[in-house]
């Protein structure tokens, strides 16, 4: 089971160029809104036509501009979970599933089986507008499985749901997908969602795809600033390589990195929770003035200005436990440090 995608599509000033390969796995397509995630899925499903390229699933060519092949969506056997689920509003849940059953002679059995499996038996005779958001998602998934797809594309599966519903549904969705014998592409802008459900990730950045990497790699060592942003890193400063150290002129700092800094490094990234309190003189320690304190739900966010920083330099954001901050809040100047391995070196 595999899916190979290499497509380009131009629409006005937006230029999409996406290439990746997925095995029988759940691959995350992670990108900010407007990065071309949905367009990519629509090209794979056959709803949109790319300008050029190649799409192949299990050795079967779905699209090839050079060979003039473009299978209609009906023949691609690619299931698509739409953001708003796209259930047919004039049909009951049962009818929605029944129309999609591929084995026509077993339509009734397959439908009832899916209704049971997705706990929709009680909602079976209701129309989509009359059931909950969670039931809608289950109905849409059941309908996709009824059509016996070879791959499933999920377009922001929780965009239409309240966040308190998401946790339970995410577990259900993971169970469903774990039993699915094919490729799953999971489009999202939420790094946590991608981390919990996928092992590998392809980052999309303004219509360009980055090489597929392990999820852990994206968090440990993102390659670019936008990948770092998607992984949740919030502090960035212009960087100059200096052997095993990196100079951050905006903050007037030079920090140890514990490894050779690649010559093409232009930015350093520091995660908010990797900024820790330290004693003066410790490794990579520097003193800062407190500019602002934001009390968050479970932690305290402190915005700091390193003492050697320029006036217009970005502030350093630190997140720490509320107790840790309470013990320190009287001090006008704070000494903080960033462990060498926690400095992200970005191209």
């Amino acid at each position: 089971m595999s899916l190979k995608v290499d497509i380009r599509r131009r629409l006005g000033s937006f230029d999409l160029a996406v290439a990746f390969a997925a095995e029988q796995e759940c691959l995350a397509l992670l990108g900010a809104s407007g990065s071309g995630k949905s367009v990519t899925l629509q090209c794979i499903a056959g709803i949109l036509k790319p300008d050029e390229g190649h799409i192949e699933m299990d050795g079967r060519v779905l699209y090839d501009s050079a060979a003039g092949i473009c299978l209609p969506p009906q023949q691609r056997q690619v299931g698509y979970l739409f953001q708003q689920y796209a259930l047919f509003p004039h049909m009951t849940v049962r009818q929605n599933i029944a129309v999609a059953v591929r084995q026509h002679d077993r339509r009734k059995d397959v439908t009832e089986e899916l209704l049971r499996r997705f706990q929709l038996t009680d909602a079976a005779d209701r129309r989509p507008a009359r059931i909950s958001g969670g039931q809608q998602q289950r109905a849409a998934l059941a309908r996709i499985l009824a059509s016996e797809p070879k791959a499933i594309l999920l377009d922001e599966p929780f965009a239409a749901l309240d966040s308190y519903l998401q946790y339970q549904l995410e577990l259900e969705l993971q169970n469903t997908l774990a039993a699915f014998p094919g490729t799953v592409l999971w489009v999202t802008h939420d790094r946590g969602e991608a981390w919990r459900s996928c092992r590998r990730v392809c980052v999309l950045e303004e219509g360009r795809s980055q090489p597929v990497t392990e999820m852990t790699e994206l968090f440990r060592a993102p390659a670019t600033e936008s990948a770092a942003r998607l992984s949740g890193c919030k502090n960035y400063a212009a960087a100059r390589p200096a052997g095993q150290r990196v100079e951050l002129p905006e903050w007037g700092l030079t920090l140890e990195t514990g490894r050779a800094v690649p010559p093409d490094t232009v930015t350093a990234g520091i995660r908010s929770h990797h900024v820790t309190f330290a004693v003066p003189g410790a490794a990579n320690a520097f003193s800062c003035r407190v500019v602002r304190i934001i009390d968050d739900v479970f932690e305290t966010i402190v915005l700091l200005r390193p003492e050697g920083a320029a006036e217009d330099a970005p502030l350093l954001r630190m997140e720490c436990a509320k107790e840790a901050w309470r013990a320190r809040e009287k001090l006008p100047v704070q000494t903080v440090a960033v462990a060498p391995e926690h400095i992200l070196l970005l191209k």
Partner: protein, 227 residues
């Protein structure tokens, strides 16, 4: 009382509405996907019969269908029948004037149709024909039904173009509207009044139907239950 005009009016309106249903859907569906400029131009042309005086439409139709005109002459030659002055000639007139009503309401309905429903149907393996008749039409049915009711009412009340294309022959091409005019012209006011009342009754029923459809539509948009 000779009920022929009522019967004739109803069958003309029925056949015309059936024709307009398919024509309107066809144009609405394909024009909705055209580029904006072409869409604008075609929209004006197809809506023109709605705003032209019926006599202008009648005159234009006679230019096309008259026995001395190319098309009319050809049909007379090949099929041995005139296209004008028969009961069904009125259908040309009613289709022309009621088409824009169906076309415009259907297009409005199609444009508010969520394209992801059609895309979902396609990825599930449903044929485009199935998606059109069993998903797009039922989802847009309020708008399409309203269009049909308006077209039927317009066809039923058509006078100007009909009188020019089909004339007035009692028991042959007479419709309610041409009969009322004829009765008024010959000072048969009592009979005229009867037909006027019949016409008012039919029109009232149609307006009630439209209002009913609209209120159901509103209820649906509010998320209320449907039978």
């Amino acid at each position: 009382m000779d009920w022929y005009p009522l019967y004739n009016s109803l069958r003309i309106a029925a056949v015309s509405t059936a024709a307009v249903f398919f024509l309107g859907l066809f144009f609405a569906y394909y024009i909705a996907r055209l580029p904006r400029l072409l869409k604008g131009v075609l929209d004006v042309i197809l809506t023109l019969p709605l705003v032209l005086p019926p006599t202008v439409v009648g005159w234009l139709l006679l230019c096309l269908l008259g026995p001395k005109q190319p098309l009319g002459a050809w049909v007379l030659n090949v099929f041995g029948t005139k296209l004008v002055m028969t009961w069904w000639s009125a259908i040309f007139a009613t289709v022309t004037v009621s088409f824009p009503l169906m076309y415009r309401t259907a297009r409005g309905a199609f444009e508010s149709f969520d394209p992801s429903l059609a895309a979902a149907g396609q990825t599930l393996g449903l044929s485009n024909t199935y998606i059109f008749w069993r998903i797009r039409l039922p989802v847009c049915r309020q708008g399409i039904l309203a269009g049909m009711v308006l077209s039927f009412a317009r066809a039923l009340g058509e006078y100007g173009a009909t009188s020019m294309v089909a004339g007035y022959t009692p028991g042959k091409t007479a419709t309610i509207s041409t009969t009322v005019y004829q009765l008024w012209r010959t000072n048969e006011d009592a009979m005229a009044l009867r037909w006027v009342l019949v016409n008012i009754a039919i029109s009232a029923v149609f307006l009630l139907t439209i209002n009913l459809l609209e209120s159901r539509d509103k209820q649906k948009n509010r998320g209320g239950s449907r039978p």
